[in-house]
Amino acid sequence: MAALPRRIIKETQRLMQEPVPGISAVPSETNARYFHVIVTGPEDSPFEGGLFKLELFLPEDYPMSAPKVRFITKIYHPNIDRLGRICLDILKDKWSPALQIRTVLLSIQALLSAPNPDDPLANDVAELWKVNESEAIRNAKEWTRRYAMDN
């Protein structure tokens, strides 16, 4: 196994030393490229109060390619499917090596604040979100309470 690139080491150190508020990313003990992430639901969003678990994996050619991020906690969100996959441009074609783990996670947090039903991944959720936003938000709150607030 090739050694860990300096950048990953640096990022990890920095995540530990200067954690982003509302976000915690801890590398796995067995794999330094795998992070256990917990993102708090942003205020003024249906996900407020929830603690959402994610997993983040830095691929071999990171930072030249985007990290792989996935929600583990179930979430009712038009851009996040049932498997927890996230539809976020910076995780896809808009990735830039200048981005970091922390920025990616911040972007995800922001995505929770501002769902984008026009670029849906979970079509049913997006549809509801467009047709009946209040009910969708209610659902989201309900899911958050049900899945993200237990512990």
Binding site: A3, R7, K10, S96, P97
Partner: protein, 1149 residues
């Protein structure tokens, strides 16, 4: 400052900018690997990570983007302000790692000899450490072998010491015995001389007085007659008649009285039994040290090869290395190291590297300087130079070594001291590099600081005082290292939990392969691994300490390696004819000349040599008291070897000095084979030459034997008888003068003659002998004056060439028959002086005196005894029927043989005196009867290898065994015709391995018994065909175990293998040469001559082993050299033949 810092940080690698390149969007990134990684090669575009602006890549690649000079200035400024160390990778260009193909700052890896990135390098180093650990474990497991060897070596040391002490003791003892024997003999001789002088003086004085009285009487008679025997005085007729009678008597007396001055010319002479020079020579070389072939030793170590071969021999050390190499010491070593050229690696990068490799080169320089053996080095070089063949590599190595030697001078001189002399492995801890490491580790530990230790410099070696158990050390180091790692490197450093062990691995390999202590490691982390080096060093030192101890020197002279197959061959030429004190070369020469020169000359020449060899053999300080054949072989071969050449003689002397049992334990059949075949060949070669001269010799022989006593003994005897009426004492006094002055003259003469003879002998010319002995011919020729051959030459003239065998034997016989002056001195003189030979002998031999009726016969009897029956070895004495007739005291009774045996047990005296001793009856065994120890018609006797006496107690149908003192040991057999039963057995023989071979006469078969007396097998039945018998009598075996049987009623001799297989036969009924009539007994000499007592032809015939008749001697008669139905025949190892006939015992040849 924080922001300033971030401005200087590349957003891609999050590190300080390195060679920042400015994109048209005004964003800057490191050229490598950041900008490089951004390139979209398909579209030849680069997308700015910051603003996502896409830019075409210039023609020459990302390098074509302008460098952000401003940013670079800032960077430099910041570095100055912050006091940071310059970027270690500054100035370096990124390359593709040759292992992982990633672009990185690559450095050469000593492990794979490629330029690899740090990651791969550290991975490789880890591999190395693991390997070192593994090999180290192997070494630990294997070290006990070295320790075993060490203990073996120690044991061998003590063995060697005890062995040498024992040998020294033996030598001392021999020396004591020799000197004692010498002293005893000297004292004895002196006393004898004194005694002789006294008696002779007394006799002569007496004689003188008597003569004076006589003279005065006669004088007065004459005066009286002149004065008064005239007419003046009245004399009665009777008175005158008486006077006349008296005067007549006086006249008669005067006429008759003849003082035979000659009788008193019997000077006492001191004559050496042996050529004194030779004696001295033999004493001077009375023993040799034989370094026995350490077969066991080398065998025991053979499997373990190399290292274990405890030799400080560089050649062997090289072998070890070759073996090591062949073994493929580290299996996965080769692929990893493949392609790397050891000495060539001169990486440009960091300074530290250079120095490290410099050290590496020191190793190699050291190696090539001290090891001319290319293999050791080549192993390591070759594995990395697959394209090079060893030749070119060797050259390059030479060049390299020259170059490196200089370097070595300044850096490392210390390894030599601890270099293992066997393996060339030196102590790692003495290597400056390693020392430096350890120092660093220690300092780091003390400070507990993160700051890297100062760049390592070659320092003076300082011994590492503490040695902690390596395992514990390693454990603690592990912790320490990981801690340090974390501190020093933080997250940026790769984690290598098992570094120390790997370090071990590495070091180990250093010790063996002179591999550099991983430079890359040094570059990346200065302090972290130093400790492990320290521990390793300690372990290494521990390991290496065992190595020098195993330096043991058990040097075997290479000549002992002479294969036994070769030995007989080398020995063969000298077996029969050499063993003179001259070199074997001359011996061979003699043999050669023997074959080419006319038989007249060669007879004497070879005869002389033979005699000498015998004497040498006998003169050896061998205590072996007549061990049958093996012992005989020993003496014989050893004497040959001794003179032969020193290379072969190493084994025998030791064996010889050992107790006889050991000597007999030797089953050295190889030489024997060679000997016998050689003898056979010789016989064949010589036969044609020998036979013609043989007859001549034979005709001479009887007369010779007769002549001897008559000249010598007869003279002395007659002198006595002549003096019978006279007072002997008077006459004896007259010889005093001669006696006193003679010895010196004599000895001078001896020396002179000897010298001449030696000269002559070396030329193998006979004229020398003739000249030398001319003066002596009137004098009784003494055989001991010089060489027997000289004596023979004098005796028979130079032209008398007999067969060498008979020649030498005759010389012996004559010599002992000769009344040499020594003999009177040695005891008979007393008797002679006292009264007569007969009385003396009677006193001496008691009942046997009856045999002697005249001076001549008595002397011959004495002679007989002297040679006796004596078989000091080899061939068994075949007893004849005379035994029983002659009663216990019979000369061929077991007694005599035992006497001989016992006589030889007293080693230290010369063979001659041994022979003289044999004439004395030592003891007798048995009487008529059937109890154990009693005999009824003992018909056969043999001497076993352990000096037991084996007697065929014929009419008791049993075999009795006695020890050499005549003590009954055992008996076996009873009457019958079954297995192990006898019917009037006759001959008995004991072969080399102690088996009893018995001629079961009336059962017409031969039976073989094991040494314990158990029946083994029998063969033969009545008949006339091959392998059938008609009353087998005498039986004997030769050195090869062939069994010779006198098939009496078939008038032939049959030869069998030891298992009873018929081999051959010879002889047929008749009286011609080679024909036999009732052959009774048989004997085989050490020279493989077969002697058969051809009883009804009243002769002894000599055959070679192939059954060709060589000679025969004897005729019917009662004179010396004549036989009447000779029965027993025996030959001793010196070629004396002893035979017993009904009338007498005759010693012959």
């Amino acid at each position: 400052m924080e922001q300033f810092e971030s401005l200087l940080t590349c957003c891609v690698c999050l590190d300080r900018f390195r060679n920042p390149k400015l994109l048209p969007c005004q964003h800057s990134f490191c050229m490598e690997p950041c900008m490089d990684g951004l390139v979209d090669y398909v579209r030849r575009q680069v997308k700015c990570p910051e603003c996502r602006a896409e830019h075409r890549i210039p023609y020459q690649g990302v390098q074509g983007f302008p460098t952000n000079v401003t940013l670079q200035r800032f960077l430099e400024l910041h570095a100055q302000i912050a006091g940071e160390l310059p970027d270690p990778t500054a100035g370096q260009v990124m390359e593709r790692c040759n292992v992982c193909s990633e672009k990185a700052y690559c450095a050469p890896c000593a492990h794979c000899d490629k330029k690899v990135c740090d990651d791969c390098k550290s991975a490789h180093m880890e591999v190395l450490r693991r390997e070192i650990a593994r090999i180290n474990n192997q070494i630990r497991r294997g070290v006990n072998r070295l320790q075993d060897i060490l203990s073996i070596v120690e044991r061998n040391t003590t063995n060697l010491q005890t062995n040498c002490a024992a040998v020294a003791g033996e030598i001392d003892e021999i020396h004591k015995r020799l000197s004692k024997a010498l002293k005893d003999r000297t004292d004895f001789l002196r006393n004898e001389v004194d005694r002789y002088l006294a008696t002779e003086l007394r006799n002569l004085t007496h004689l003188k007085d008597n003569l004076e009285l006589e003279l005065s009487n006669i004088q007065s008679n004459c005066d009286l007659a002149d004065k008064y025997m005239n007419d003046d005085v009245e004399w009665e007729d009777t008175e005158l008649v008486d006077t006349k009678e008296i005067f007549l008597k006086t006249v008669e007396f005067l006429r008759n009285f003849d003082y035979e001055a000659g009788d008193y010319n019997r000077r006492v002479r001191f004559i050496m039994t042996h050529d004194p020079n030779q004696l001295v020579l033999h004493v001077a070389s009375y023993g040799e040290l034989n370094i026995s072939q350490p077969n066991a030793y080398s065998n025991s170590l053979q499997p373990s090869q190399g290292l274990t071969r405890s030799k400080s021999d560089h050649r062997l050390a090289t072998q070890f290395r070759q073996q090591e190499e062949a073994k493929g010491y580290v299996e996965n070593d080769e692929p990893v190291l493949g392609g790397r050229k050891f000495g060539e690696r001169r990486p440009p990068p960091p300074e530290r590297h250079t120095r490290e490799y410099g050290t590496t080169d020191d190793y190699s320089g050291y190696e090539s300087e001290h090891r001319p053996s290319r293999r050791f080095r080549s192993r390591f070089v070759r594995s990395h130079q697959q394209d090079n063949d060893s030749d070119t590599e060797q050259i390059s190595r030479v060049v390299k070594s020259e170059h490196k030697e200089k370097e070595k001078e300044k850096v490392t001189d210390t390894e030599d001291a601890t270099r293992g002399p066997l393996s060339g492995i030196f102590r790692l801890s003495d290597c400056p590099r390693v020392m430096q490491r350890i120092l660093d580790v220690d300092s780091v530990k003390k400070k507990e600081k993160k700051e890297p230790p100062p760049p390592p410099k070659p320092v003076q070696p300082t011994p590492q005082p503490q040695r902690r158990p390596p395992t514990q050390r390693q454990q603690s180091e592990d912790d320490e290292i990981s801690r340090l790692k974390r501190q020093n490197k933080g997250a940026a450093s790769s984690q290598e939990p098992d570094r120390p062990t790997q370090r071990n691995n590495e070091e180990e390999r250093n010790s063996i392969t002179r591999k550099p202590p991983t430079p890359a490691r040094e570059a990346s982390s200065d302090g972290e691994s130093d400790e492990s080096v320290g521990s390793l060093q300690r372990t290494q030192r521990k390991n290496s300490t065992t190595i020098p101890k195993s330096t043991v020197v058990t040097r075997r002279p290479s000549n002992t390696e002479t294969p036994s197959a070769h030995r007989p061959a080398a020995r063969a030429p000298s077996t029969d004819s050499s063993a003179s004190t001259e070199s074997s070369g001359s011996a061979v020469k003699h043999t050669g000349s023997e074959r080419t020169t006319p038989s007249t000359t060669n007879g004497t020449a070879s005869g002389a040599q033979r005699v000498q060899s015998r004497f040498i053999g006998a003169q050896r300080p061998t205590p072996a008291p007549a061990p049958a054949e093996p012992a005989h072989e020993d003496t014989d071969t050893s004497s040959e070897e001794e003179t032969d050449s020193s290379e072969e003689s190493e084994e025998e002397p030791v064996t010889q000095r050992k107790p006889e049992s050991q000597a007999m334990a030797r089953s050295d059949i190889g030489p024997l084979l060679a000997r016998s075949t050689n003898a056979r060949n010789d016989a064949l070669d010589n036969k044609s030459k020998e036979t013609p001269t043989q007859s001549r010799y034979r005709s001479r022989q009887p007369s010779q034997t007769e002549e001897e006593p008559s000249t010598r003994y007869g003279a002395s005897g007659s002198s006595y008888s002549r003096y019978g009426s006279k007072p002997k004492e008077d006459e004896m006094t007259s010889s005093i003068d001669d006696d006193t002055k003679y010895p010196t003259a004599r000895s001078r003469y001896l020396a002179l003659k000897e010298r001449r003879n030696r000269l002559a002998r070396s030329k193998s010319s006979h004229t020398g002998f003739g000249v030398g002995d001319d003066e002596e011919l009137d004098d009784p020729v003494s055989p001991t004056t010089a060489s027997p051959s000289a004596y023979l030459a004098a005796r028979y003239g130079s032209g008398t060439g007999g067969s060498e065998l008979s020649r030498s034997r005759s010389s012996h016989a004559l010599k002992s028959r000769e009344s040499s002056p020594e003999r009177p001195v040695s005891g008979e003189k007393d008797g002679a002086a006292l009264s007569s030979w007969a009385r003396y002998l009677k006193n001496k031999y008691g009942s046997r005196g009856k045999d002697r009726d005249s001076g001549g016969t008595s002397s011959s009897t004495a002679r007989r005894l002297s040679l006796g029956l004596p078989l000091r070895s080899a061939n068994e004495l075949a007893s004849s029927d005379d035994d029983s007739k002659n009663a216990a005291g019979s000369p061929i009774s077991p007694t005599a043989a035992t006497a001989a045996v016992a006589g030889f047990a007293a080693a230290g005296s010369s063979p001659r005196s041994q022979y003289l001793q044999k004439r004395r009856l030592l003891f007798s065994v048995g009487s008529r009867g059937s109890e154990p120890g009693c005999f009824t018609w003992p018909r056969g006797i043999a001497v076993g290898p352990d000096n037991t006496m084996v007697v065929a107690d014929s009419s008791n149908h049993r075999v009795q065994v006695f020890d050499m003192n005549g003590i009954f040991i055992k008996e076996f057999g009873q009457y019958g015709s079954g297995e192990g039963e006898f019917d009037c057995l006759a001959g008995v023989a004991v072969n080399r391995i102690g088996q009893y071979i018995i001629a079961d006469r009336y059962n017409h078969r031969i039976q073989v018994f094991d040494p314990a007396g158990r029946f083994l097998r029998s063969f033969g039945s009545q008949g006339t065909g091959d392998g059938k018998f008609n009353y087998p009598w005498g039986i004997t075996t030769d050195a090869l175990g062939f069994i010779y049987v006198c098939d009496k009623e078939n008038h032939r001799v049959q030869v069998f293998q030891s298992d009873g297989t018929f081999v051959g036969k010879f002889g047929s009924f008749g009286s011609k040469l080679g024909q036999l009539e009732h052959p009774h007994y048989i004997a085989v000499s050490s020279t493989n001559r077969v002697l058969v007592s051809d009883s009804n032809n009243h002769r002894i015939q000599v055959f070679d082993v192939n059954g060709r008749v060589l000679s025969s001697f004897g005729e019917e008669g009662s004179e010396d050299g004549q036989f009447k139905f000779p029965r027993g025949v025996a030959v001793d190892d010196q070629g004396y033949i002893v035979s017993a006939s009904f009338l007498r015992l005759t010693e012959l040849l």
